[in-house]
Symmetry: C2
Subunit: 361 residues, 2 copies
DNA sequence: ATTAGCACTCGAAAGGAAAGAGTGCCAACA
DNA sequence: TGTTGGCACTCTTTCCTTTCGAGTGCTAAT
């Protein structure tokens, strides 16, 4: 199976150099820089073999080599040296996360922005929740036409809504409804909110003005939007940093896809264990628009059945190791802050577990 | 003073054509299309004069003419025929607004996205509030370590926060604090939340565990973020539709500026009366990055001391009249929905009041 | 005042030559 | 057998020149 050690070194050198320069890399520069003691002619022979093995390709005869997706895959799985960020970088990321997260509730937008800033690629953040329920209701009576619904969800976020009624409603009714909803509508999922339940509540509360249905609508709305995966893409413009997107049409196409909330993630169920990093290279992506881009995704644990992902999108020629390291820090930070549970201490460089498609194993 | 009627017609023809094609327009095509009965030679003479008057310019000798910012200004102020959108278009916009706004609280992001979709230019939305206060507090006791702060603001939005304490706190204390905050912290602005006030409240509540300061922090945070102007830019990628931004560097620069929340708006106090449309052409913009772009801004009234703006950014060669018409509908819709007050009925095409710099009057 | 005609200008597009990077292969070598 | 220097070859990139054409400015005629 495997290929010779030297071939691997050469492949790694090609990838590193290509990532850095975005230019096809020639035998000469490898001989000069990669520090294996042999001449360019030898390298040429090896390169030719790597091409026929499918790890590299040539844009045209008499140009240098660039990695194929298969080449990147091997690089990511085996070759790339796990990037240790400097302590300053790590601290910087953590500090910025602290600033942003002070008030983090559902502002995954901030996370996404942060990831984009830190990596200098477009980034996306998304969360999927399963089975969110309401833990507790409170109805706050404000005045005869107005009350506030407050709901504490099972994921410990709080939703509210100010309700203005066209009719007056008396405080007693609000209290009755508050009690009824607390007993009848807590700890149930959206599907369990049936017209039957609503009707019987309405009758029990002796509500002749339709207040019950207003509250029920809020419940449904809250539960369904809480469960709906929410996504946020930001920093699309950073795509234009990359030489491969200097063609405005290409850039536009991908950016349009991204900001359309285009979906990227492999598929819902492949949200892996928190802490893992997943790399999808070029054609490994499902979406047509991403076929020649790569996506690096980190999964974090946001507690209570909530999994989140942060990821970045870039050209296949991407600085996988740095990006993976940075995302890993972000994901660990998020797990620590949101997961509620026991989490690795802040300062620690956490181990990267890189995982990708299985096709090369 | 003004220039001859025919010159105006010619100028309008140049702008219209240039907006459509993005190519310098020559005397011949004007003679053919503008329908004033004279030959291209005559047009040429007129064009030459328009150039020397400063309304047009030539990229180079022997090219057609393109409008200068001054030319656009005249066009916007006097020449452009107010676009009447078709009924379908109007309805479409209103319908989409209805969908989005159902749950509009502070999701100006949605508005911005909508504006961008509708106009096909990048769009921004922003709101400035002045003097927001808290109308009413409720502290909801959840368990010994947990309570929820609910605040109803003067602009009728509700903010909340779930507070988890490291220590147990008894229900009585929560009630006392609730009452104290309701009397002491309502109807005051951020500046009035002094350490003195906080201290005295803490003492009055007999709070030895620092709960008071947690709530006070929430108050400060809430008031300051409510007053902070919030902005949202979206659809940056649509910039790439425009031929003048095919140069990725140019595009990147502007997009970076935009998504950096770069600020565009002329200046805070120039938020004009709701219903007005403001056009800033090229160098009329203050920001260096916008010097060769144009901005069209509509102001709407969001009720209770809140003014909002929605605007779009595009090249100076912009379809001002359509954009103005569309923004006008959006702004009217927002005023109607958010302003609470009396507003023009939905179906009505509202009159455009276009306002720009005064320099040409 | 308008128009037809014409020489002129200047950019954009097309063609071609030269430069340069990098390869593939061969013959020599350890 | 694996490695190396050398060299001819290929293909792209760049630059220069030429050509083409749109559009002008001017002039003389109406």
């Amino acid at each position: 199976m495997g290929i010779s050690e030297r071939k691997k070194k050469i492949l790694a050198a090609v990838v590193d150099e290509y990532v850095r320069t975005a230019e096809p890399v020639g035998s000469k520069s490898i001989a000069a820089n990669a520090g294996l003691g042999c001449s360019s002619a030898t390298i040429r022979n090896e390169l030719a073999e790597l091409v026929s093995l499918g790890y590299l390709e040539q844009p045209h005869t008499s140009a240098g080599r660039i990695p194929t997706p298969m080449g990147y895959r091997l690089y990511v799985n085996e070759l790339m040296q796990k990037q240790k960020l400097s302590l300053e970088e790590t601290e910087d990321i953590n500090r910025r996360m602290n600033q942003k997260l002070r008030e983090l509730d559902d502002t995954i937008g901030d996370i996404s922005r942060l990831a984009s800033q830190v990596t200098n690629y477009p980034a996306l953040a998304l969360t999927t929740r399963t089975a969110v329920t309401i833990k507790r209701f409170d109805l706050i009576y404000v005045d005869a036409n107005t009350f506030i619904i407050v709901a504490l969800l099972s994921d410990n976020t709080v939703k509210n809504k100010l309700v203005k009624l066209p009719v007056s409603v008396d405080q007693k009714l609000v209290q009755r409804l508050s009690a009824l909803f607390n007993s009848g509508f807590t700890n149930i999922t959206e599907e369990a909110v049936t017209p039957l339940l609503i009707n019987s509540t309405e009758r029990a509360a002796d509500d002749t003005m339709g207040v019950t249905s207003v509250i029920a609508a809020f419940v449904i709305e809250t539960l369904s939007s809480a469960v709906a995966p929410s996504a946020f893409v930001s920093g699309e413009n950073r795509l234009l940093n990359q030489p491969e997107f200097r063609d405005p049409d290409k850039a536009h196409k991908l950016m349009g896809y991204l900001s359309g909330g285009g979906y990227i993630l492999p598929s819902e169920e492949s949200l892996d264990e928190a802490g893992e990093i997943k790399v999808l290279i070029g054609p490994e992506n499902v979406a047509e628009e991403l076929k020649d881009s790569s996506v690096v995704i980190a999964t974090y644990d946001a507690g209570d059945n909530t999994r989140g992902m942060i990821g970045v999108i870039g050209p296949t020629r991407m600085d996988y190791s740095t990006v993976a390291a940075k995302l890993s820090i972000l994901a660990a930070g998020l797990s620590r802050r949101l997961g509620g549970g026991e989490a690795p201490p802040e300062g620690m460089h956490n181990k990267l577990i890189i995982k990708g498609d299985r096709e090369n194993e």
